[in-house]
Amino acid sequence: MNDKVPVIVFIGQPNCGKSTLFNSIAGYKAQTSNFPGTTVTHVHSEVLWKGKIYSIVDLPGTYSLSPHEPQEKVVLTHIFKEKPDLIVNVIDASLLGRSLELTLELLELEYPMVVVLNMIDLARKKGITINPEELEKKLGVPVVKTVATRGFGTDNLMATIENALKLKIRPTAPHYSREVEKRIAEVMDILPEDFPVVANKRFTAVKAIEGEMLAVDKFISEHNLAFKRELDRLRQEISALREAPAYEVISAERHHLALKIFEDCCRVTRPKISAIDKLDNLIMDPVLGYFFLLVIFAGMFYLIFKVGSPLETWLLQPWETIKSTIENQFGHSLLAELLIGLVQGIGGGIAIVFPYFIPLLFLMGFLEDAGYLARASFLLDAFMHRLGLHGKSVPMFILGFGCNVPAIMATRILESRRDRIVTALLIPFVPCAARTTIILALIAFLLGPWWALGFYFFNFFVIAILALILKRWFKYDSPGLILEIPSLKVPSLKSIWQKIYFNLKEFVRFAWPILIAGSILLSLLSYLQFDRVINAILSPLVSGLLGLPQSLGVTLIFGFLRKELSLLMMFQALGVGYGQLMAVITRTQLLTFVTFVTFFIPCLSTLSVLWKELGKKVALMSVVLNLSVAVVVSWLIRLVSSLF
């Protein structure tokens, strides 16, 4: 038994700081691995503590154990399949009363368990003083206080975990009111011999009662109709106790017991209204709130561009030097071209990551941890509904302005696959930092800032129209927004950094290698003078339909790799510098070109992430959608623009 690695699962409600706690413990890690699922993910980590290895699983946040939402299904499946040696129930101590409902449900499993009172500092600020000894007595499991963002209490937690694994004390399920308990016992008695018992008979009986109308019920009636009839009778008896469905009666039992425990173990004093509460009222104000929303996001983008674009130029410089050195050294040999491809791929990755990706992830992480993204979702929900989406999609679109890649990754938090697909199909139309660079460099500088602003609004208009089209395509049956608004707080730098790190790791592991490989491949094509063939092939589209110089064909291929490469390659293809550009192409051609490059295809990194996150079919759909929109819209631009 001793050489078996103990399995510990972290379970908690959303926003309880569970992942932050997990990460601060996994800091001792021996090895980390990611298992991205289709809709939800769980992270698994091998932790080395005092010479022993523990296998720790961070499950997605869940409000309850009823198999209803996708995350909850993952949690349940995991508990039942892996039979953890220990459950660590992480609780937001500032929401103890509500959080204990899940704790009581977990106690019913009668698995060894440890309860973590996280964010104990926040609870104190809210005037809640918790007596941990009293809580331990009531729950029958060890209770540990932590502040995960500061790493406070993690050593104590590990020691408690070690001890709990040694003692293997199984808690007893909570006792509900006598009338309810009587029915639970009856269901336990009539459970058929062959009924799959999960955890223990009592838990199985409770879940069978709660499973009314869910998949469980269908299973039961198919297997044992006599039991189903008896179960329904007992459900009705329970239901009659409170004139509510049986599942609500059971849930209400937990609710009241949780509140009772909360009252018995805590002293609550009303705190004074803090500055942060006042700020909260201001940013949630039905009028001023929208003003702040605008200021916050405008400020954010201004900051990123102010920092990002000079940084990008600076970061690209050494790679340019290396490139010209290679050219001088090897001339136009195959080796030189391949090396240049490699250098461009590596340099390109760096030039995305540092100037735009990291600052953006930082600011987004800040807003997310502060609790602002949930508030933005609240403010913009009505607007998004008109477009067939949820307020919950708002943060992803905002992320998309920086870079579409993390925006598509973030769609993971959307519960329905339909919403995920629609959001992910729309994100590639959001002008990311790279495309904004093109819009600024070509339209703002050559035609004037008002043209650029107009172009931006035109872009939003296209997205809105597309959203309306997609709404017809994918049936829209949104049940309406139900979103918890977490308390506003000052975010911790450590936890923001962890978020950046995890996103960055995925980019470096997945998107960057493709970027480098693609870049080398294109160099090879250009060495073989394949670019002329490409220009010839694309000619019907480029010059025929869009009325652009034929030589711009190959720039589109580069645009697929990285959008702003289209811009750089454009000068090369036309053989002119920045200043003379307007001499060789017309205003109409310029607008058509920018429109086409902006929409025509998600860049390679975006496409790879789409593929990885939502599958081949959605990635393909995205390509087709982008191409058709680009062709139609830029053709229209050509048509309209030539009228004036």
Binding site: S94, G97, S251, P286, V287, D381, I482, E484
Partner: protein, 100 residues
């Protein structure tokens, strides 16, 4: 885009109160959840979020353009944003003195 905030539709429920939907309830008043109607999915979701009949809640805010309402549960000290369709399905009454 910025519609005027409209409070006229709110019922005057008086000090003892009658039943009304959460959507029609007066802002800032302490209310008691009487019943959660609507489909099972919605019902279970709200229960899981700690919103049960009998809980005291207050309507804090509403977003523009018929946007969601912000509801604070005073019993469990949590806040959620609810779409209007959902708020409509929650029946409340003004809490009496003892309940507060």
């Amino acid at each position: 885009m910025f519609g005027k905030k409209n409070n006229n539709h709110k019922l005057d429920m008086g000090p003892t109160g009658g039943l009304c939907s959460l959507l029609e309830a007066p802002e800032g008043e302490i209310l008691k959840i009487v019943e959660i109607r609507g489909g099972q999915g919605l019902h279970r979701r709200l229960l899981a979020l700690g919103f049960h009949p009998g809980d005291l809640v207050t309507l804090e805010n509403e977003a523009l353009m018929n946007g969601p309402v912000l509801v604070k549960n005073l019993t469990t000290d949590t806040r959620i944003a609810l779409g209007r369709g959902i708020a409509q399905k929650i029946t409340v009454e003004v809490a009496t003195g003892d309940e507060r």
